[in-house]
């Protein structure tokens, strides 16, 4: 199948998932929206879960290229910005949330394979950092990525709070420097004392940001 045709099928699949949910998604509907014959779709993907699993993995709407900014910190910040955009800007946010909802009820969609594929590509970031000799590059990539991606999911989707400017920078700083480093980040002293040196800095702003965030949406 021509790649462009395949993309149209995948995009139609995800658009219908986002619009109507998994239960109402049908291969007939995908055929209609993409203008591809139903039997053609069935020839390539024998079932709705097979089609959706392929669409999640391959669709342009969820496409992913690991950032390459020249530093591990920059790459991780760009990665977090990407997750924020994915989870807060339609249509990708609608797709991601609908896909998550479908995946937790339908293990056959194997969302784990999607995350494993992402992780395999994200490891490049750490390989490049290691080749540059960056010290933090010896960290456990899976842990770093779970913490960072997880924070965006919890903030944007579970808590339903706005993701304030600076979130990516602060999240990456927490994981690379430690939260004691967060408040020492702007000051010259601190970092290195205890993994928890003092210092004024982004801490106050950070706390304000978060309280504001909670107030504006959390308890409603």
């Amino acid at each position: 199948m021509a790649p462009r045709k395949q993309q149209e099928i995948f995009d139609a699949t995800l658009a219908l998932l986002a619009r109507r949910g998994y239960e109402s998604l049908t291969i007939e509907g995908v055929a209609e929206l993409s203008g591809v014959n139903k039997t053609t779709i069935y020839r390539w993907w024998p079932s709705k879960p097979a089609l959706l699993a392929a669409a999640l993995m391959e669709a342009d709407a969820l496409a992913f290229d690991p950032p390459d900014t020249g530093t591990l910190r920059g790459d991780l910040e760009a990665l977090v910005e990407g997750v924020i955009a994915l989870l807060t800007s339609p249509p990708s946010s609608d797709i991601a949330v609908a896909a998550l909802g479908a995946a937790v009820h339908h293990p056959e969609l194997n969302i784990g394979a999607f995350f494993a594929d992402r992780f395999a590509r994200e490891q490049e970031i750490f390989e490049r950092a290691r080749s540059r000799g960056e010290p933090a590059a010896t960290a456990d990539p899976l842990m770093v990525l779970d913490l960072l991606a997880g924070a965006v999911w919890v903030r944007a989707i579970f808590r339903g709070l706005p993701v304030e400017a600076g979130f990516a920078r602060r999240a990456v700083s927490a994981v690379l420097d430690g939260v004691a480093g967060e408040e020492g980040a702007d000051s010259e002293e601190g970092a290195g004392e205890e993994g928890a040196g003092g210092g004024e800095g982004a801490g106050g702003e950070a706390r304000m940001g978060s309280e504001e965030g909670v107030g504006s949406g959390g308890e409603g």
Copy 2:
């Protein structure tokens, strides 16, 4: 209504949610399982979403007491262990996953209120740490909790990977100390150069643990 009766209704609601999913959950079903008259349930909670939202917030099955171990690190590790248990041991794992799936499709369940309620109680941990004068207690609690809870969700639910022993300790260390502290273990050089104090630690073991985790379930 007597608190015990109310708990029976909530527990029945969550048990049916986990067993059959949100679409098949009915107040009739809850009445039958809990042995409480349907009209009594309707008198207290006028709709299915109202009942489920109350059950998520109040049910014993998802009950939460902030840990109090005497240190911020200990409290956070206990908190992460609690999230791991919640998300990996039935019946709570089935309930949590079903509730998440329902919440992403049904904004009226207002899962954000559930997370806001949890956060309000989790803040005690940081207040106690501040009153003890622990330096890391000046960190942004919301960010710390988003990172830690998010990491467990991504690892256990999204990736569908086993959560290895030591995960809580390593996750908390990453956020409190930074991952550069983790790595100091293997290399003598490096750590500290980069705004990230040195220190020996669990780095080597940590990395092994995670590779094992990926290998054993990630790409399947």
